[in-house]
Amino acid sequence: MLHNLSIGDLADRLATKQISSVELTRHFLGRIERLNPALNALITLTAELALQEAEAADRRRAAGERGPLLGIPLIHKDIFCTDGVRTSCGSRMLDNFTAPYDATVVARLKAAGAVMLGKANMDEFAMGSSNETSYYGPVRNPWDTSKVPGGSSGGSAAAAAARLAPFTTGTDTGGSIRQPAALTGVTGVKPTYGRVSRYGMVAFASSLDQAGVFARTAADAAIVLKAMAGFDPRDSTSIDTPVPDYPADLERPLTGLKIGLLREFFDGLEARNTALIQDALKIYRSLGAQTVEVSLPHLPLSVPTYYVVAPAECSSNLSRFDGVRFGYRCENPTDLLDLYQRSRGEGFGAEVKRRIMTGTYVLSAGYFDAYYLKAQKVRRLITDDFRAAFEQVDLLIGPTTPTPAFAIGAKIDDPVTMYLNDIYTIGANLAGLPGLSLPCGFVDGLPMGLQLIGPHFSESRLLNAAHRFQQATDWHSRSPRGYE
């Protein structure tokens, strides 16, 4: 079936005119229509626009243009601004907001000829680890619809797992690509901070946010990342360094690769989970890699550090949602204060408010030094730990999450337990490092993820290591029942 083909195979069929982009687009639109109601993975379907874009892609191809993504459908996380299309960020605050411009990520993929099918559900303003904080309701995990898909890019992950598109986009501030990728059995890449432009991505925590991709394989992710990445003069934090040819590097042998096992990631990890990671290591050793244990002593401080830095930045980033220029405005405000209080009180959900309040608190006079400044110092220590580790090894390996997908409703009323879901992913965000999650097996019939973390701008190495693993295993080609 078309939806099980890789991006490379789809591109071949498009190139050899076995199929048109319009046909491919119709195929996926049909799947979305049939399968999305049970998943709630998409908030907005842009069928008409998609068919126009597909026709345009077919015309471009007829005119002689080539390209690995020309005519390939995708779904964007609803955090990316899309010109003329609602960009809700999963919030009532932006339920009525039609973006007047394209995010750089959107513009680049559009230029590459990719066809947008719609916008994916997400935790409100990307704040959540289960996709339950969305104004549009929770997303369901295609492996078990009573379970969460992870978050915040839960809709993008579920859509990729359910084969509603060959690939989807996401963002990762504390694990929001890698954690849902792990819980839905797909490959998710969070690039180096500064590798992909943040322009047009609704900001959550500016120093941590990074856009990335969900695909079923590392090889597909490599194609997409190549098109997304690169310097953008409109984002001062994007970095002007050449984008490697990721697909070309996939086949490199792993002989001599030094893989570090993060000791801190295995403390208290369940035995079945640990066993999956040990199996993965065996495969890597069989591929010629060496494995050594390394320690990052400050890594256990990641979660508290993150929950100071991220809320601090979010409390400021979300101040622009004030009911004055765009987005939700309360009915009949009596004065300015009432306009602010009710627009924000009614427009934001509970988790967003919790983080705005936390962030406001840690930046307040008298608390700034004890919280924000301290957290920045710890962040530096964690970054230094990673740097030291990468003097010994080429990449780090460990689980992506402590457990497989949990039940919808199980943790939503207990923020701290929820926050601990990101215990293994947050470190890479704090240090700005690239991370990748790929399927490595199942626990209780639910997929588990193996996480790779590399030095800055080592995406090529991560994709190469993931691709080699996927050549030796078939976890990534398993499909949830009903979505084959």
């Binding site: 601004c81 973006a99 400021s316 220029r325 930046l363 006079a365």
Partner: protein, 479 residues
């Protein structure tokens, strides 16, 4: 009043003369229809990001070098968080802990001619907010974001000024400097140059500062002086009647000439400053600083010193003539034709007749109706005694209104000075003959009547008699 010492520090906001805003590509031109110069970045749309305008940094560095300040090799933009409708992001981007310009200093001249050095604590870059509009909108308030994101250089002084006059002298000096550097148009009506004044008083001889009040948003030199004087009087009166000054922000009402409390320290916002994660620290190296230094013009103090040295002008005159680049250039153009030996004459005319005419008709010196070459043409006729200084004023007025050269006017109006002794003597004789009583009185000791005879002769010659010759001849005749 004399038992108290006044302490003043100023925070001057100079709008930088960049073509586009500090973090977006929107135009900074003044007076466009509301919100026509507000891009998505200025409107703080979801997802947009700021990108620093390098020109604003260059201008700040230029300012720093002109006051002998250290330019920070690394400066950081922070967010100042507060809610207000004219602040679209809900925070203002401003340099906080690490400003681009560190400690510098500036010399000002006081009324008695003494020179005082005022410390400049720092100067930092920040963005301006928009404007709230209340007129013609009924009960609603409109927001105009054209000004939002306009680059400002906030120049913070030490609390070194001891009177309103000193504060004004300092503010004028900064005003002169930023226009010299061409980093600010200095237009105070449009708000391009304004200040906040921190004012306190303390008993004379005490070291500890009194509690200060901050007077916000003063946009004319006159208002600065009046507001400070009002505030000083208010604080002294308060203290002398047993009260205490509270730390607060006050507004100056120019209609009532008084300051009013705006908010107290307790009501002040907690701005929750933190480094803006959307912007990288500004890194400046030695080569950049030297490149900017090489673009510095001759600075006002250097120009004044040169005028005093080369042209023998008083410190005061040299200061006035170097107060703007344009005025200095005009003066130098006049002297270039007239010769340095007559620089004092040129100075008097530029500061006198020319400045009055420019002020009266509200004309900028660069658009003067009498060009420097024309003025030096006129002054040449004084020097060669073709006309007297008094007649020259009449000629100048005609030049100003008719736009013709001095010689043409002197010729057409027959204003050429009478230097023929015989002709002057004839007139003197006639005047003496017609005024026998005054002659008798003069000869009996009323010396003052000499002026009467001068006046009569001048009147009869249409003011054209050479004054020196007239004096000499008249003295001889009157005996």
């Amino acid at each position: 009043m004399s038992d108290w010492e006044v302490v003043i520090g100023l925070e001057i906001h100079a709008q930088l003369a960049t073509k586009s805003k500090i973090f977006s590509g929107s135009s900074t031109a003044y007076g466009a229809p509301p919100n026509s110069q507000a891009s998505l970045v200025d409107l703080a749309y979801p997802g947009v990001l700021p990108v620093l305008n390098a020109e604003a940094v260059r201008m700040a560095v230029k300012f720093g070098l002109s006051i002998g300040a250290e330019v920070a090799r690394r400066s950081v933009f922070a967010r100042k968080n507060y809610f207000y409708p004219d602040l679209p992001k809900g925070y203002q981007i401003s340099q906080y802990e690490l400003p681009v310009v560190k400690q510098g200093r500036l010399a000002i001249m006081l009324d008695d001619g003494a020179v005082k050095t005022v410390g400049v604590t720092r100067a930092h870059l920040e963005e301006d907010a928009g404007k709230s509009l209340h007129e013609g909108l009924g009960a609603a308030t409109g927001i105009d974001l054209n000004r939002a994101g306009t680059p400002l250089l906030e120049i913070v002084s030490e609390p070194d000024m001891r009177s309103a006059k000193e504060a004004v002298a300092y503010m004028k000096k900064i005003h002169t400097l930023v226009r010299y550097l061409e980093i600010c148009d200095g237009n105070m009506q449009e708000g391009s140059f304004r200040c906040d004044a921190n004012v306190s008083v303390r008993p004379k001889g005490r070291e500890k500062f009194g509690t200060r009040a901050e007077i916000k948003n003063l946009n004319s030199f006159r208002f600065v002086e009046k507001a400070i004087n009002y505030e000083v009087a208010r604080q002294i009166e308060l203290l002398e009647s047993g009260g205490t000054v509270v730390q607060e922000t006050r507004l100056y009402d120019s209609d009532k000439d008084e300051t009013r409390s705006m908010r107290s320290k307790e009501e002040a916002n907690d701005y929750r400053y933190f480094p803006d994660p959307d912007l990288l620290p500004v890194q400046i190296d030695e080569a950049y600083i030297e490149a900017v230094r090489s673009t510095l013009p001759e600075l006002p103090d250097d120009k004044a010193a040169r005028f005093a040295r080369d042209f023998g002008l008083s410190a005061y005159d040299a200061g006035v003539l170097s107060a703007s680049r344009e005025l200095g250039a005009y003066f130098e153009a006049v002297v270039a034709k007239l010769g340095a030996t007559h620089a004092k004459l040129a100075a008097n005319w530029v500061m006198g007749e020319l400045s009055s005419a420019l002020n009266r008709d509200n004309v900028d010196i660069t658009a003067s109706r009498v060009a420097p070459e024309q003025l030096s043409g006129l002054l040449t006729r004084i020097v060669d005694e073709t006309i007297s200084g008094k007649i020259a004023k009449e000629v100048f007025e005609a030049m100003w209104s008719e736009g013709k050269p001095a010689d043409a006017i002197i010729e057409a109006k027959g204003l050429k000075q009478i230097t023929d002794s015989g002709a002057i003597e004839k007139v003197i004789d006639a005047v003496i003959a017609a005024n026998p009583k005054q002659l008798a009185d003069y000869r009996s000791g009323k010396d003052k009547l000499f002026g009467f005879f001068v006046g009569q002769v001048m009147k009869a010659t249409g003011g054209k008699a050479n004054p020196a010759q007239l004096n000499e001849l008249l003295k001889a005749k009157l005996g």
